[in-house]
Symmetry: C2
Subunit: 390 residues, 2 copies
């Protein structure tokens, strides 16, 4: 397949609310060539990732991402690896590069697997899929009562694992305890519970350590992202204070090397990878193998669409030991509309990828059109980017 | 000072050549408020960094950089630190954020120090400036003869340290030897020599190890960036193969935590920091203190304008032990035109910052105008950015 066309579709809800819900917009990527089509998605900040695709060259190691890709040929997984290495070398002084590349790489994997008439995970060498225990990923509500109600609803829907994050958690110890207690009461002792603080305690290790005992008391499986992505000394110190509680992190990784450092120096027990940030499916696949070797559990990071969920699960779906997956349980209307099929869990709270070639997710162009943001970028008297016509 | 206005000036040479010369364009930042003005510069890819300043919010941790800054008040160094932390928290899912922030932070430091009527390094707590041995930073020419000629010219101009990088170096061992030999012959034994390979050998540790002996034979002080920024295991392994040769790296650091990891886990002897990428002057200052404590030498990374050179030197100029600085010896006409004074070394190859408040560098608006690139970014039916009128 020769890469003839790469299109970026920036779609958005009409109003973006000021909350930690990553499904309010999306940057969907379509790659086309030789009659083949593949779809992918970049995580977060569509306009900036589009800019990195088209920005004028600054010097030989700071080129627009598109310059390394257009006209190139992809006939194998190794070809995709080579192209990713080429982008990394040609654009390494442009920080946004891995986010832009991620969606394109996913689309290339989708197209290649479709051409080979096989699912992506089989192209990666996995024999079969293992359904995963889906954890309902939700935000803390302002009060313990409301948070408890959301937790109960999730358990009633059949989820056997829930994760709560962000909201007001992390500022007041007593309030935090009340929130976690309300959840545990609502879901009972059999449902796994995780807590995510979204890097809130960066450079405040004490704040994290203070909460370890309370989280262990309510049998929380993991505490997620207590600090920023590269604060390994803080991560390692916190781990030393935990008895049962494990630490999870890694969603901010924008390269396989970065995530490996989180495993080796941050001493996390769960490494969370978003294929829409880490450079796509192949570096995530390498990481899953690395995690397996190191006794660390690989978990997808996904808060957006079924397409992103499928992409982030491909590297782990064939590995039985990685038994739990993040599942966006309250996605926006946009995230429900633009892909088919919808991803749903079974009555036991298990999730399996749909069967089919590539990522086995179709993009609904009519729905994309409904949410498409009109963007135009001009520089040096030329139009560098304009939202594609649908 | 209340931040009333932040302007980004994208300036560029008329033609960007396909070579590793970072002085071909620049993103200059002006911050204004309460009658004060400060100037800064972001390193590389102007259009992408502008996009991160104005991009529509994706969710609560992915906001445009400007939203955390406009209208805020800066009266102390701590105020700047707080604003940087606010940007990091509000925009951490937007990868380009630290590059955009860097130029603004530098401009805030410049404005604050001017308001306090003192140089930035004094505001950081340093008593005095220590002139540095300037190393002439140059690119390998295609042949040993031409490379040797450039080296001789630099030595004749008074430079007592030279660094060669990029070009064709790193592919063929015999050619590499011929290049280094020609330089050493041209400069004699008294001039310090460094070699930079710009991450060429990522995941190819053997290629780096193969060259250690040859580089030691010609008394090369450091080998720079053999691998990508976060490949600590490769860095540490290479260090174990060196007798006299030291390893230098870190210019890609986009946070203080990242650079500290390079020191602690990559085992480099020289940590190279670009204030236009790492988040500005204050994180670089913290790093200089950290490096001092760890017995590692802090070196600026600068390949662009006098303004960027002044910014990158402020954190180290007051520390006598950090005795060598990068000095762009062949800057483009643009980099020579837009700032005053020009930075020059003395006849002994030493460089000292000009005296004056703030960064002690003035921006020539008429020259900026000459090189200004007209950019327009529209989204959601609104103009998000348009190049400022001069």
């Amino acid at each position: 397949m020769r890469i003839e066309q790469i299109d970026f579709f920036y779609v958005s809800m009409p109003v973006i609310e000021d909350r930690a819900d990553g499904s309010q917009d999306a940057l969907v990527v379509r790659v086309q060539g030789d009659g083949q089509t593949g779809w992918g998605e970049c995580e977060a900040s569509p306009l900036v990732s589009i800019a990195a695709f088209v920005a004028p060259m600054s010097h030989s190691a700071c080129r627009p991402v598109r310059d390394s890709l257009m006209g190139e040929t992809v006939n194998s997984v190794d070809d995709i690896r080579c192209l990713s290495a080429k982008v990394a070398a040609n654009s390494f002084d442009m920080l946004q590069t891995p986010h832009t590349l991620s969606g394109i790489e996913i689309a290339l994997c989708d197209a290649l697997a479709r051409q080979k008439k096989m699912p992506v995970y089989k192209m990666l060498g996995h024999e079969k899929k293992y359904p995963k225990l889906a954890y309902a990923s939700m935000l803390f509500a302002p009060t313990p009562e409301e948070t408890g109600r959301h937790a109960r609803e999730a358990a009633e829907q059949g989820y056997r694992a829930v994760k709560f994050g962000w909201g007001g958690f992390g500022v007041n110890l007593e309030h935090d305890r009340a929130l976690v207690e309300a959840i545990r009461k609502a879901i009972g002792s059999d449902v796994r519970l995780m807590v995510d603080v979204g890097t809130l305690w960066s450079n405040k290790t004490d704040e994290a350590i203070k909460r370890v005992q309370m989280l262990e008391e309510f049998d929380v499986v993991w505490l997620e992202e207590p600090f920023e992505s590269m604060e390994y000394p803080h991560y390692a110190e916190l781990s030393r204070h935990c008895k049962k509680l494990k630490i999870a992190a890694g969603e901010g990784s924008h390269s396989a090397a970065m995530a490996k450092n989180m495993i080796d120096h941050g001493k996390v027990a769960f490494i969370q990878i978003d294929t829409g940030r880490v450079g796509g499916i192949l570096p995530a696949h390498d990481l899953a193998e690395y995690a397996l070797k190191k006794g660390v559990q690989f978990v997808n990071h996904t808060f957006t669409t079924p397409l992103a969920l499928s992409a982030s699960l491909q590297p782990m779906i064939g590995i039985e030991k990685f038994d739990i997956c993040e599942f966006p349980v309250q996605p926006t209307q946009l995230a429900q509309d633009i892909n088919r099929p919808l991803c749903v869990t079974d009555r036991n709270g298990m999730f399996d990828l749909p069967d089919g070639d590539g990522l086995a997710i179709e993009v609904d162009l009519a729905a994309l059109k409904k949410y498409l943001v009109q963007v135009k970028i001009e520089s040096h008297g030329k139009v560098l980017y304009e939202s594609p016509k649908i």
